[in-house]
Amino acid sequence: EAEVAQSPRYKITEKSQAVAFWCDPISGHATLYWYRQILGQGPELLVQFQDESVVDDSQLPKDRFSAERLKGVDSTLKIQPAELGDSAMYLCAAARGRDTEAFFGQGTRLTVV
């Protein structure tokens, strides 16, 4: 199975700054997920896309987080302003459809200082 590409792999940013993560899913995988994994915990869903549309963003802190998938292919997750508590691994996952399992990228490790 081809990889889900994420960049950057690591990011250090100062609090109150803006930061963005990018995900390029497997070709033809219409469903895309962003998860946040705090150290020592399991991943938690932030947002789910079906093609370019948001299906579920109920757990996305919308005052500072935004996500888009303009052409239904790659996706960007943004945090503005970053807070110390946002330090975590941000994982992107893709699936062929809502009825199939998702494959994960390598993640972006964010450290807010």
Partner: protein, 115 residues
């Protein structure tokens, strides 16, 4: 709402010994169940999945898991572990076909294989 409980946060075991990592879940609907492995600073790799059919599921790297609906469990087993199996293991549940990739995860079990 669904939830996952991984009953052991850390499991130390000697090389070539058998291991079982325990997972219980709760859900009001039929579920899909998954086990993932995560190495340090890496993403999650799917070990195995239960969607339907046989309750004994075989996965990669010699792992298998058994779905027990009455006990709402999905325990992961391997008959003989290797040093390279040292990693974090996550159990996850999805509420059925319409949301197969939308998973609720447990907090993970750290498997440490000692020589």
């Amino acid at each position: 709402a669904q939830s996952v409980t991984q009953l052991d946060s850390q499991v130390p075991v000697f090389e070539e010994a058998p291991v079982e990592l325990r997972c219980n879940y709760s859900s009001s609907v039929s579920v899909y169940l998954f086990w993932y492995v995560q190495y340090p600073n890496q993403g999650l790799q799917l070990l195995l999945k239960y969607l339907s059919g046989s309750t004994l599921v075989k996965g990669i790297n010699g792992f298998e898991a058994e779905f027990n609906k009455s006990q709402t469990s999905f325990h992961l087993r391997k008959p003989s572990v290797h040093i390279s199996d040292t990693a974090e293991y996550f159990c996850a549940v999805s509420e059925g076909e319409a949301n197969a990739g939308k998973s609720t995860f447990g907090d993970g079990t750290t498997l440490t294989v000692k020589p």
